[in-house]
Point group: C2
Chain length 325, copies 2
């Protein structure tokens, strides 16, 4: 049994606990939290809830710690700190800061002799893998990544910061016509506006002016100004009943050419009812890999690019070759 | 420069030569053939053409040999034989015989200290990888593989063995309605007939009876009897002009559930103008990986499941993390 610890008990942490129940070779050994542990009541009363500050004392009782905090402030601090004691896996997803995060985790792991697997999930993660495989196989070609249809947490937060907005949900939607042009092998150059649209469902504060709010949203730099954005004003009730889920997904395509002009299209897509539960499931599969790498004596920071696919599966090499090859 | 040898110069061997031109870190060092080398004229006159029996003398001039023969009789003999001298990569695709082939290549590699990568291509190969990743991430779910639309060499050969058939081409076509049921998350149990249809384009010998030929095709066990099969009789001219290509492709899907019933769909698909050129491109990327594994001191037989994705790319870890993660 691989003993897994969960650090942080939000959507992702709950998803990891659920995913562990689907993997009989792993068990939840502890949940670490920055909150008062007594305030956190788990469905499964057998799993200890412990203050994150006490984690070092659990060094010999945990095989892999999965860090379930956010990329903005939690993981840059927690992943290197915990790598001093544990093999760690995180879903760090701030693309521009991956090199710095990699370095910090790598230093901590090498000092402690642990394995750190960072940026695990679907993007970065499974989408990255598909970009790598497709690019290696079709060196002469062009990559496309589309996201959605799905809820963007960052854009929903941006909507909530607009004055007069009580609550809101933003969906990122790939433009079907752009996807079709890529699939047709046109290799188009696509602008930001041509790739995705943004659809907003907004609950207004009493007395707020919808025209002003809509204008402010549609012209917001970085978040909405470069997109065709639709704003719907709805009731709090409708937001709660119709937009409670956190679905997401997307597409990675590579269109390439071989020989004297043979065209090829590689397409990977995800359609996810629950973004955090799916991300958690990826984290758990890579926790198994981190454990195997550590058992082999590996140490240092790694990403999905460095992990042999077989390490994700509980099956043996023989079983995998017989059943899946 | 990684020095690549090509053993066997059919569609696959020609595809490897074309793929090498797209990979500036590799070069074609020699083409080995069982034919009279003088009978084989390459576009690039700088590449030596050598009798396969002389291959052992090239031991120190080749980093990886890519075996481009057929799975029925060539590879079971050639891959283990050549693994005594070279790191080898092949596209062995007889699923049921993979365990025996793996063992033979593994024994040869371990004795010689070489690396053997077998069953590289798209199925087995990229499709296998997708079955593995998807199954590891969604342990509670169901796999589906659909092939086509594409030319099946085996089924085209079967048509040509029917009395009265002069030439023929067979297309395997996935049933769109079945694909849609899988995408909708229905997790259907699909019979052979429900998954694929078979479309045959047949040129008759003069005087052959079309009704008898059609009947014989449609009732042929293993190949056609279990499918809805359509037979079109066409002229030799039409076969040559309209059915000269070797396109193929297909779909790997996994539909799974997490948590309290969130549904997820992972879909991977290929649409290939040229089946052999694409397979060759996969072989070349894995030749790079075989070279790296050998340089690290690895030896023995491996499959795509054992190869860290980063080994397929000429880019460094830093470059990959910055550009693709």
């Amino acid at each position: 049994m691989i003993r897994i610890a969960i650090a942080g008990y939000g959507n992702l942490g709950r998803g990891v606990l659920a995913a562990l129940r689907q993997n009989p070779d792993m068990q939840a050994a502890a949940v670490f939290t920055r909150r008062n542990p007594a305030s956190l009541v788990l469905e499964d009363k057998n799993i200890p809830v412990v203050s994150l500050s006490e984690a070092p004392a659990w060094k010999d009782k945990i095989d892999v710690m999965i860090l379930c905090g956010g990329s903005a402030t939690d993981l840059p601090e927690q992943t290197p700190a915990m790598a001093q004691y544990f093999n760690v896996v995180d879903s760090f997803d701030t693309h521009a800061r991956i090199p710095a995060h990699f370095k910090a985790v790598d230093d901590a792991c090498k000092q402690a002799g642990t394995v750190g697997l960072i940026s695990v999930g679907w993007d970065p993660g499974l989408f990255s893998l598909n970009r790598l495989y497709a690019g290696a196989v079709l060196p002469q070609g062009k990559d496309y990544t589309f996201w959605g249809k799905g809820v963007s947490q960052g854009h929903s937060d941006a909507l909530r910061r607009v004055k007069g907005v009580k609550d809101a949900r933003q969906y990122t939607i790939p433009v079907a016509a752009a996807l079709e042009r890529v699939r047709a092998g046109e290799n188009p150059e696509l602008s930001t506006r041509q790739k995705h649209t943004r659809e907003c469902f907004v609950v207004l504060e009493p007395g707020a002016d919808p025209a002003r709010v809509e204008q402010e949203i549609k012209t917001m730099p970085n978040y909405f100004a470069d997109y065709d954005t639709t704003v719907h004003f709805i009731s709090e009730e409708e937001l709660r009943t119709e937009h409670a889920g956190i679905p997401h997904g997307g597409f990675v395509l590579r269109s390439g050419v071989t020989g004297k002009g043979s065209k090829h299209l590689i397409e990977y897509s995800l359609k996810l009812d629950s973004n955090p539960e799916f991300t958690s499931s990826v984290l758990v599969a890579y926790a198994r890999a981190a454990h195997r790498l550590a058992q082999e004596g590996a140490c240092g920071c790694k990403t999905v690019f460095d992990v042999p696919p077989a390490y994700l599966s509980p099956k043996s090499g023989e079983e995998l070759r017989a059943a899946l090859l």
